[in-house]
């Protein structure tokens, strides 16, 4: 078991963004995390990545307890993440961005640069392009490249495929698949069902801070609780009557 999150909760004052969520991920899986907006997925991700301190619960990565560890420690242990709103280093070039990630495992500049160049090529970006001149799809791709350079064992993708054109989406899905084939375990938060159906073999559904369903994508899509979460009460009955 690579990642184990047990009974994780996060409360902001009286508001419980995450309420007792469990997640286990085996090495080599691709797991999907879906749910309506505000369901707590991003907060849960932030807990897994060390960005937010969980109010209760434990997070174990490869046996090590990372619950209270800062984000830097999570990254060093092998957990990488992307951000829902891309946070590329705008003043630096694409290559320099990726090098920042590469420096984690390659402290010397030439090694880091070589490693970064390979990743930049693999993701189809241009090394010398200033990061600020990239559009949103480019920035999302750069974020993936950058975190990939830090050689994570577990990659948390936070809506990294949103807002892409159909052809860009296919490229992105292919990239994620290639990353998976390199041996990286992936947990992906997405709203785009195509991504979930084609990439993941197991899906968890969040609603109001809890996991309300889990199973294969096909099972989950038919689950009544899930449909209710997205469409509200009365929807299943309407479907029956029509």
């Amino acid at each position: 078991m690579l990642l184990e999150a047990r009974n994780v909760s996060k409360a902001f004052g009286n508001f419980r963004a995450v309420a007792g969520a469990d997640l286990t991920v085996e090495e080599g899986e691709i797991v999907g995390l879906i749910g309506p907006n505000g369901a707590g997925k991003s907060t849960f991700f932030n807990c897994l990545a060390g960005d937010t301190l969980p109010t209760t619960g434990r997070i174990l990565f490869d046996g090590a307890d990372l619950t209270r560890a800062p984000p830097e420690a999570h990254a060093r242990a092998g957990i990488g993440r992307t951000f829902q709103v891309p946070t590329t280093f705008a003043d630096m070039s694409v290559l320099a961005n990726v090098m920042v990630g590469a420096f984690l495992r390659h402290p010397h500049r030439n090694d880091a640069r070589e490693h970064a160049r390979r990743i930049v090529e693999m993701t189809g970006l241009r090394a010398e392009q200033p990061a600020r001149s990239l559009g949103t799809p480019g920035r999302k791709r750069l974020e993936i490249a950058r975190v990939l350079a830090s050689e994570p064992r577990l990659l948390l993708l936070d809506e990294s495929l949103a807002g892409l054109t159909p052809s860009e989406l296919q490229d992105a899905i292919a990239l994620v698949r290639r990353i998976h084939q390199m041996g990286v375990t992936i947990v992906i938060v997405e709203h785009i069902m195509e991504v979930i159906m084609t990439l993941t073999r197991r899906v968890l559904v969040f609603n109001q801070g809890r996991v309300i369903a889990s199973g294969t994508p096909e099972e989950v899509v038919r689950d009544e609780a899930v449909i209710e979460a997205y469409l509200g009460r009365g929807a299943p009955r309407q479907r029956e009557s029509s």
Binding site: E72, A75, T87, F89, A90, M92, G101, R109, S150
Partner: protein
């Protein structure tokens, strides 16, 4: 030759060599006391601004109280001399050590919090030290301290004429720039820029943000302290205002910001422009000149912040491509 110069990297190397040559030859070409004095003032300004640049420009942690390090560096050599008759040279490393210590004391709590806390802390601590030193008789109180009137040897660093000072300062400036250049190219430099851009993203990639910021501040403090020491031994006099005053801090910031904070030569360029300007203002307007200078500084800082935070460096890069294109088309 033209082709060689057309490549940006070689053009840069040639420019740097020309600059170095100009700086080395300057006092020999302009041997009047007035010119040498400006030269020394310029070098000192460039050293301080380049020191500030490491933490303020590259790492984006804006200190507006860097005078605290400058003042420590200026006071310690003169204090050693005044109290025990020791050569001021001995006080310089002590000043550096104290400054690094102070940097850590300030950085440890404030780097945990948002950038504004750090900036506020630097103002408050600099003021605190300035007022405190002004009340402490041991270090000269409001009157300040003086250095050796007559030189007992080279270690007193009390030279007649500006020439020795000029070359010592030039050597220190070269050292600061070389160190900055070296760091810029290594992991540390990349981490600094990443922190400036987005601390959150930097953390997620394993960058030890707090440690890197502390290291940058400590290094910056050490260099600033050295600059203060140079000022102290050159002027032979220091008091709370000339050591720890807010104007000292402001100058460092504006020289770096005008030329381009976060660039290697930005502080140099800023000093190159503003030191002659400030000297001119002082000469024309006399005492009130300094008041006018700071109105001007305030205005320039606001304009930089509003229109071109990257300073002249960014401004140049915005217009230069068009200029290059036109030159090549002609």
């Amino acid at each position: 030759m033209k082709k060689y110069l057309a490549q940006p990297a070689s053009a840069q190397r040639v420019s740097v060599c020309l600059l170095a040559a100009a700086l080395v030859l300057y006092p020999l070409a302009f041997s009047g006391a007035f010119y040498r004095d400006i030269g020394v003032t310029f070098l000192l300004a460039a050293i301080s601004a380049s020191a500030w640049n490491i933490v303020g420009g590259y790492a984006g942690q804006v200190s507006v109280g860097h005078s605290m390090f400058f003042g420590l560096g200026a006071y310690t050599p003169l204090l050693f001399y005044t109290l025990w008759g020791w050569p001021p040279l001995a006080g310089i490393p002590v000043g550096i050590l104290l400054s690094v210590g102070l940097a850590i004391v300030i950085g440890l709590p404030t780097f945990r919090l948002s950038g504004h806390y750090f900036s506020m802390a630097t103002i408050a601590v600099a003021e605190l030290i300035r007022i405190f030193v002004g009340t402490w008789a041991l270090v000269g109180g409001a009157i300040g301290l003086q250095g050796p009137a007559m030189s007992r040897g080279w270690w007193d660093l009390t030279f007649r004429g500006d020439l020795p000072y000029y070359y010592i300062f030039l050597a220190v400036l070269a050292f600061v720039l070389i160190v900055t250049f070296a760091l810029e190219r290594r992991r540390f430099g990349y981490y600094l820029r990443a922190i400036k851009s987005s601390e959150r993203a930097a953390r997620s990639l394993g960058v030890p943000v707090r440690r890197v910021k502390l290291q940058a501040l400590a290094l910056s403090a050490a260099f600033t302290s050295a600059a203060g020491s140079l000022y102290g031994v050159k002027t032979g006099f220091i008091d709370p205002d000339s050591g720890f005053g807010i104007l000292v801090s402001v100058q460092m910031v504006i020289f770096a910001a005008l030329g381009g904070a976060g660039t290697l030569f930005g502080p140099l360029v800023g000093a190159l422009i503003l030191v002659p300007l400030q000297t001119a203002a002082n000469t024309w307007f006399g005492g009130s000149g300094s008041g006018l200078t700071f109105i001007l500084y305030g205005g320039i800082i606001v304009l930089i912040a509003r229109f071109e935070p990257g300073g002249l460096f960014d401004l140049w890069h915005r217009f230069a491509p068009r200029v290059w294109r036109r030159v090549h088309a002609a």
